[in-house]
């Protein structure tokens, strides 16, 4: 049997809007994934460390502060630096359309904006993410 996907739901930066992150964490857990939630106010270093320690397959970043253009690429860079370049990154939050294009070019796999049905996120993960070979 294939093992369960391990997902890190993370809140980088200083903003305190965690409603979306918590709803996503819960919806992913209810869908049968193993979910680790970092809590608020994490630096990209803290998130990369947590991803490494928890040996996750996917990192889901929630940002509603407008700092996504800095924070998302920074997490990607640090994961690569730690030899975890095969971990996928997705994001959610208040992110303008033109930024989504740039962030995807920088390696973010998908961005979900407000109004997304959590079942669509689950379906996307089931379709696109496989457990990393250990």
């Amino acid at each position: 049997m294939e093992r369960k996907l391990r997902i890190l739901v993370a809140k980088p930066g200083l903003d305190g809007h965690d409603r979306g992150a918590k709803i996503i964490a819960r919806a992913l857990r209810d869908a049968g994934f193993e979910v680790i939630y970092t809590g608020l106010h994490q630096t990209p270093e803290m998130i990369a460390d947590a991803a490494l320690q928890e040996d996750v397959d996917l990192v889901s970043l929630s940002i509603l502060s407008g700092a996504h253009n800095h924070l998302m690429p920074e997490v990607i860079r640090l994961l690569k630096e730690k030899g975890m370049g095969d971990v996928s990154i997705i994001g959610g939050g208040i992110i303008p359309q033109e930024d989504i294009v740039t962030l995807k070019q920088q390696g973010v796999k998908e961005i979900f904006t407000p109004g997304t049905d959590t079942r669509d996120v689950v379906k996307w993960i089931e379709t696109n993410i496989q457990p990393r070979s250990l």
């Binding site: 918590k22 939630y37 809590g39 608020l40 106010h41 630096t43 800095h70």
Partner: protein, 535 residues
């Protein structure tokens, strides 16, 4: 044969999932004693309004929350809003300021000036309020744990321009309890956070008598996903906690009670919101009188600010947000608010443009000058439905009071994660209701249009961060660093003891110590709060 009148749904509920009957009648409010439970507007228990004449006397304060980029950028927006007929200022700080972090810290990268205005030192505050007569304007500052620092900066700016401190009016949010519950801009653990917060109450009472040292806020609780009754209950129960702390300090309820102000959300369920505001006034009046023995009616009178619900707005078909905001603002006005912020249509995408802020302000002006709803006070009083809703929401809130009292108070309840868990439960339930289409957001799950053209949004110049860092570096280079060091060392000593911290904070501010330096100095003594991460 009798005609069948079918209903669309098996059950009708409010936005907060409270069941609503087809029709209400005199039986619904049989127990209501109008004299005792409603009273006259401006009289105990204030159900019908804080003041006898309400908007026949003066309109609510139209106060648009504003802040972005550098202090100079926001100063320009303040002047614009005042020129457009706005009657009070409301300052939005960027996340680093809210969290006590300076713009030149690595933790601030990507966040400087993005979600609010960047304030690091007194210098920024001098620029922010340049050309504004601080004796003539009331200023609200949405700032919590660093509130004493930002208020100290404001007072120093006023002093330098020879404005009289006793004449300054405004509000600092300074509501740390709701930070742990919902807003999450916490810095210190609850005990030292409450000390700092109470220090400011105490200081304002004698030194800045026209200032409201707290805005006890339900706004963020609601935005985090609570029901209307939870918003009401947790906010007012936070209020009780502050009163308890002040009384323990030896402050008198009749003296500081009138300085407490409140801040509520205006969500989309029109009648539920109106009932909430009416219940808030009644519950608080009775609490102050019966629980705390207040005798001064001013100490029992709830005065509140309202903001329309950011979380109700949609990125899809954003023009529809003007309509949502109008209905929400109307419920705030019919509920008797003292001041109002109306969200701009583009706030689900970015900070608002000048054009969209103008529509939001005009929405308030249209309600005030065209709709006619301001002609009489509390027009819904006596409505079977509204009175029943008011009673029900009051009862629900009082049941929460009982639970939290039994836990040992709000600080304890927060440590147990109780309000946090209640809110996330409600938020998750609502998400599921959206996904099963039990609740509809127009343009999101239904009435959708494909390939919407994007709208123009406000972009913060990426140079802002570098400019702000450079400016703060210059301030640090020019100030008297020995004096800063001495002021910070005094601040630390006071933090280790129990004396009021505000005078030391003012000294450090005057020497151009940075916000981050002051916050970190106290952190050495107080420690930092860590997110328990309930979900």
């Amino acid at each position: 044969m009798e005609k069948q009148f079918k209903e669309r749904l098996p059950e009708f509920t409010t936005l907060s999932s409270k069941k609503i009957e087809r029709v209400y009648n005199s039986d619904s409010i049989a127990h209501l004693n109008p004299e005792k439970d409603l009273g006259e507007p401006g009289e105990y228990p204030f159900t019908r309004g804080a003041y006898p004449t309400m908007y026949r006397g003066r309109h609510w304060t139209m106060r648009q929350f504003a802040g972005f980029g550098t202090a100079a950028d926001t100063n320009e927006r303040f002047h614009y809003l005042l020129n457009q007929g706005q009657t009070g200022l409301s300052t939005a700080f960027h996340f680093p300021t809210l969290m006590g972090v300076d713009s030149d810290s690595p933790r601030a990268r990507g966040e400087v000036g993005v979600c609010g205005v960047a304030i690091d030192t007194l210098h920024d505050m001098e620029v922010l309020f340049k050309g504004i007569n601080l004796e003539n304007v009331s200023t609200s500052m949405t700032i919590n744990t660093p509130a004493p620092i930002l208020l100290a900066m404001y007072l120093e700016v006023a002093a330098k321009q020879n404005f009289q401190q006793k004449k300054l009016s405004g509000t600092v949010q300074n509501d740390v309890l709701k930070d742990f519950i919902a807003q999450k801009t916490w810095i210190y653990p609850p005990a030292p956070a409450m000390r700092l917060c109470t220090d400011l109450f105490d200081y304002c009472q004698t030194e800045v008598p026209r200032w409201h040292p707290v805005s006890i806020s339900g706004y963020h609780i609601r935005e985090a996903g609570s029901t209307a009754a939870q918003e009401l209950a947790f906010t007012l129960r936070d209020g009780i906690e502050y009163v308890d702390y002040c009384v323990k300090r030896g402050m008198k309820v009749d003296e500081f009670g009138p300085k407490l102000s409140f801040f509520f959300n205006a969500q989309s369920d029109f009648f539920e919101e109106i009932a909430k505001y009416r219940a808030a006034r009644r519950i608080w009046a009775r609490t102050m009188k019966e629980r705390f023995g207040a005798t001064n009616p001013e100490a029992m009178r709830v005065k509140f600010h309202t903001q329309t619900a950011g979380c109700s707005l949609t990125a899809q078909q954003p023009m529809n947000n003007v309509v949502r905001t109008t209905l929400q603002a109307l419920s705030g006005v019919l509920g008797g608010t003292q001041s109002l912020h109306t969200n701009s249509l583009d706030e689900t995408l970015a900070l608002p443009t000048e054009a969209s802020v103008r529509i939001a302000l005009r929405t308030q002006q249209i309600i005030a000058y065209e709709s006619g709803v301001t002609n009489t006070v509390d027009p819904f009083a006596g409505s079977y439905f509204v009175e029943k809703l008011t009673d029900d929401i009051e009862r629900e809130a009082l049941a929460y009071f009982k639970k939290i009292d039994d836990m040992g108070g709000m600080v304890r309840a927060i440590e147990l994660g109780y309000p946090q868990k209640e809110i996330i439960e409600a938020a998750y339930r609502y998400q599921k209701q959206l996904e099963t289409k039990e609740k509809i957001m127009v343009g999101v799950q239904d009435f959708v249009i494909e390939n919407e053209p994007p709208i123009d949004v406000l972009r913060i110049d990426p140079q802002v961060e570098q400019r702000q860092i450079e400016s703060t570096r210059q301030v640090k280079a020019k100030r008297n660093n020995a004096a800063v060091k001495a002021a910070l060392s005094d601040l630390k000593k006071t933090a280790e003891g129990s004396a009021n911290l505000i005078p030391n904070i003012r000294n450090a501010v005057r020497e151009y110590a940075t916000l981050g330096e002051m916050i970190d100095t106290m952190k050495e003594v107080f420690g930092a709060y860590k997110d328990p991460g309930h979900y």
